[in-house]
């Protein structure tokens, strides 16, 4: 193994190797590079600039210079892809291997990026999908069982987990469109049962979590015995962050895969070692933060825990609102915007089913009204078509994980999983359709007789009594510990024939207000202290 100890390595942010920046073709962002001629065989030719790229990247990885690795990974790789390989492959790994001493691990990492680029810009063939799976297997095997001594940027490690699941999901969709497959593809598909198999995928994530001991690390961290979050997962003592941080991100990975399968309970269970209300390593990479909250919120929506969903969506949407401009040049910017839109739609759904607008911050609320104000009104009037539309727009890409039965007539079943989740969600919505009517009447009274309320709602008394029970049931959440909590915005109780509406006047939380402003004031003072007067 090339990275087995031996390299003292620099700490993240430490010594700055400027030789890379001295090269003009790197410094100016490759503006002088000419795009290749059409028909250029990009796979089998290594331009000088790419040669330098791999040489320096390899060197920085050996020297554990995380800062430089990050610059090259986030900056140079994207720029080179944009300039030279917009619609074509990066050079094959065999072509660059001689420049990096044929280093096994580096080649696996290079191929991981190579396939990621291919998936993002071109249409992968079935063979390439299989090769990419093999590459992930080899890479994870080395990380799990070899002694990989590297420090890689969190961004890169997150991208690995993220892309691994994306390609799995993409493969399931691909395999489920049986009618579109050629005879050649079908013949090959039948032979590759193990490729992107759901059990393999989940076992890799599970293995990364177990082998990295990340659950124990997070647990011990609470007692102050180890540091993980405080150093963003990096190791400042010459060690490696790769397995640990991959294990950490795999926790989020499991949440996502479980949700793609419709298993929301197990997804949330998998995420539980991470407290999403505390700063954590998942906050250090925006893509990870968004993924975490998106699936966390969605799972809670499906579990009818609307308040948890609303609070978490609000938090991350506010974060995106405040920091969007800093991510404009990120390769993930489009993804960020897309998830942003989807989460506004999910928030609109949650608030229509569980109207607690006070929980939503003002900026987020304004944007929400702008985007979905009219649709929210229609959802409150129980227009099912709107729920359908927003759910379909914003739900995860559900998958059917099992192998197709190739002996039956070929059909496309890529929509099956989505249709089932949609159907069950809409039947929940239908069950709740009386609630908004009850809500609006209750708001107008402090007491009202059952008979009077029934006549207002144009139903008979027994029907109303049933509806009131249902209102109570649907507005109560059962927590994991068995405790029952009301999330109703308007609460009431019935004594014999009278409905008594509870006082719902909102009391202002002065305490929170002051705490917030004390912290803000403290920040300003700190900033002022740092200002050097000329």
């Amino acid at each position: 193994m090339a990275y087995d100890a031996g390299y003292g390595g620099r700490d993240y942010g430490g010594g700055y190797d400027d030789s890379y920046d001295d090269r003009p073709e790197f410094r100016d962002g490759f503006r002088d590079l000419q795009p290749p001629e059409p028909g250029f065989d990009s796979m089998n030719y290594v331009p000088d600039v790419v040669k330098s790229f791999v040489v320096y990247l390899y060197r920085h990885i050996r020297e554990k210079n995380v800062y430089e690795i990050h610059q090259m990974y986030e900056g140079s790789f994207q720029k080179l892809s944009e300039r030279l390989f917009k619609q074509s492959y990066w050079p094959a790994v065999e072509m660059i291997a001689p420049y990096v001493e044929n280093d096994h691990v580096f080649c696996l990492l290079y191929k991981e990026m190579w396939f990621r680029h291919l998936y993002a810009r071109l249409q992968p063939t079935l063979e390439q999908r299989c090769d990419s799976w093999d590459n992930y297997c080899n890479l994870f095997q080395v990380i799990l069982h070899g002694n990989v001594n590297m420090q890689l940027p969190n961004q890169w490690l997150w991208d690995m987990v993220d892309e691994f699941i994306y390609q799995f999901q993409s493969f399931c969709q691909y395999r489920a469109k049986l009618k579109q497959r050629t005879d050649h593809e079908l013949a090959l598909l039948k032979q590759v049962d193990e490729v992107w198999n759901v059990i393999g995928v989940m076992n890799y994530l599970q293995a990364l979590i177990e082998k990295s001991m990340i659950l124990q690390i997070l647990d011990e961290e609470k007692d102050g015995n180890v540091t993980f979050t405080a150093t963003d997962g990096y190791d400042y003592h010459g060690g490696t962050n790769v397995l640990k941080v991959l294990g950490y991100f795999s926790i989020v990975g499991l949440l996502r895969v479980h949700c793609l399968l419709g298993d929301y309970q197990s997804g949330l269970r998998a995420l539980s070692p991470i407290d999403i209300n505390q700063p954590g390593v998942f906050n250090t990479v925006i893509g990870c933060q968004i993924t975490t909250i998106y699936y966390y919120g969605f799972a809670n929506l499906m579990l009818r825990r609307y308040l948890d969903a609303i609070k978490s969506f609000n938090q991350v949407l506010l974060y995106i609102f405040k920091t969007k401009q800093y991510h404009q040049r990120s390769s993930q910017y489009d993804q960020i915007l897309k998830k942003n839109e989807q989460m506004y739609a999910l928030l609109a759904i949650c608030l229509s089913l569980c109207p607690h607008p006070k929980l939503v911050e003002e900026n987020v609320n304004n944007l929400l009204r702008e985007k979905y104000g009219e649709k929210m009104l229609r959802m409150q009037r129980s227009e099912e078509a709107i729920f359908d539309e927003l759910f379909s727009f914003s739900c995860p890409k559900f998958i059917t994980p099992s192998l197709p039965n190739y002996n039956e007539p070929l059909v496309n079943f890529n929509q099956d999983a989505y249709r089932l989740q949609l159907k069950l969600f809409l039947s929940e919505v239908r069950q709740q359709q009386l609630l908004s009517g009850i809500r609006s009447f209750l708001k107008l009274y402090t007491t009202i007789s059952i008979s009077k309320l029934a006549s207002f709602m144009d139903v008979n008394e027994p029907t109303l009594r049933v509806a009131l029970l249902m209102y109570k049931h649907k507005t109560h959440v059962i927590n994991d510990d068995g405790s029952v909590l009301s999330n109703a915005d308007v609460d009431f109780y019935v004594a014999d024939d009278m409905v008594h509406i509870a006082d719902t006047k909102v009391t202002k939380h002065f305490g929170d207000y002051f705490i917030q402003h004390i912290s803000k004031f403290d920040e300003i003072i700190n900033d002022l202290d740092q200002v050097q007067l000329e």
Binding site: D491, V494, A495, D496
Partner: protein, 222 residues
């Protein structure tokens, strides 16, 4: 027994092998065991549904039906829905799943009278699971008690499907053991107070600040 391997519990088996199809038969047996011993494990059952999802050919309709009856008994928790998210739609269009979905719908929407009628017509599915009636009655009482301070006897009778002398006996038991009281000659049932039928009891969080929030100020004050 020295040297004998310590038998591991089903929970441990699931925790160690969450994605391992080899434990499928153990989990199927465990569903039967839950039925017989009147115990319940949502996690084990979800794990079994997940393994069925990976290998649909192995799915045993009878086992899944029993699991769903157990999930109904877990109401007011959302277990039934959680299971349905994992069961292929084409199966949900067939019996006994259609009936089970109808029963769940009546319970979720508090249509207890309709529920008991439908349950009566489908005893073959339900009676194999001991404790079913009591569990649903427990759910009905839960929903009634978060809604009503005082409720007419007839409403209670309908929700738990008990009438006449049996209801008298039931009420007597509740009066003696669970703090229920009767008014108007037993025509009005007064349920024990809780935060939902006596909102005054709800702890007001308005004028208290959680410790974690105050803790954020410590560095500032220091």
């Amino acid at each position: 027994m020295p040297g004998a391997q310590v038998p591991i519990t089903i929970e441990q088996l699931v925790a160690l092998n969450p994605y391992n199809p080899d434990i499928l038969p153990d989990l199927e047996n465990y569903v039967e065991e839950q039925v017989v011993t009147q115990t319940y494990s949502l996690d084990a059952n979800l794990c079994l549904l997940r393994l069925y999802q990976f290998q649909p050919a192995r799915l045993d309709v009878r086992i899944v039906a029993r699991m769903l009856v157990k999930a109904l008994m877990a109401l007011p928790a959302t277990d039934f829905n959680l299971c349905m998210f994992l069961i292929p739609e084409r199966l949900q269009m067939e019996e006994p799943f259609l009936t089970l979905a109808t029963l769940a719908h009546f319970l979720e929407t508090a249509h207890f009278r309709e529920f008991w009628d439908e349950a009566n017509r489908n005893r073959d599915i339900l009676e194999v699971v001991p404790g079913f009636e009591q569990a649903i009655q427990g759910y009905a009482i839960h929903v009634l008690s978060i809604t009503y301070q005082r409720l007419p006897r007839s409403i209670l009778a309908e929700a738990i499907n008990v009438e006449g002398l049996s209801l008298d006996k039931f009420l007597e038991y509740q009066v003696n053991n669970n703090g229920w009281t009767l008014e108007k000659g037993g025509q009005l049932v007064v349920l024990p107070a809780n935060e939902d039928n006596h909102p005054v009891l709800r702890k007001s969080s308005a004028d208290s600040i959680p410790l974690e929030h105050v803790a954020r100020l410590f560095p500032v004050l220091g």
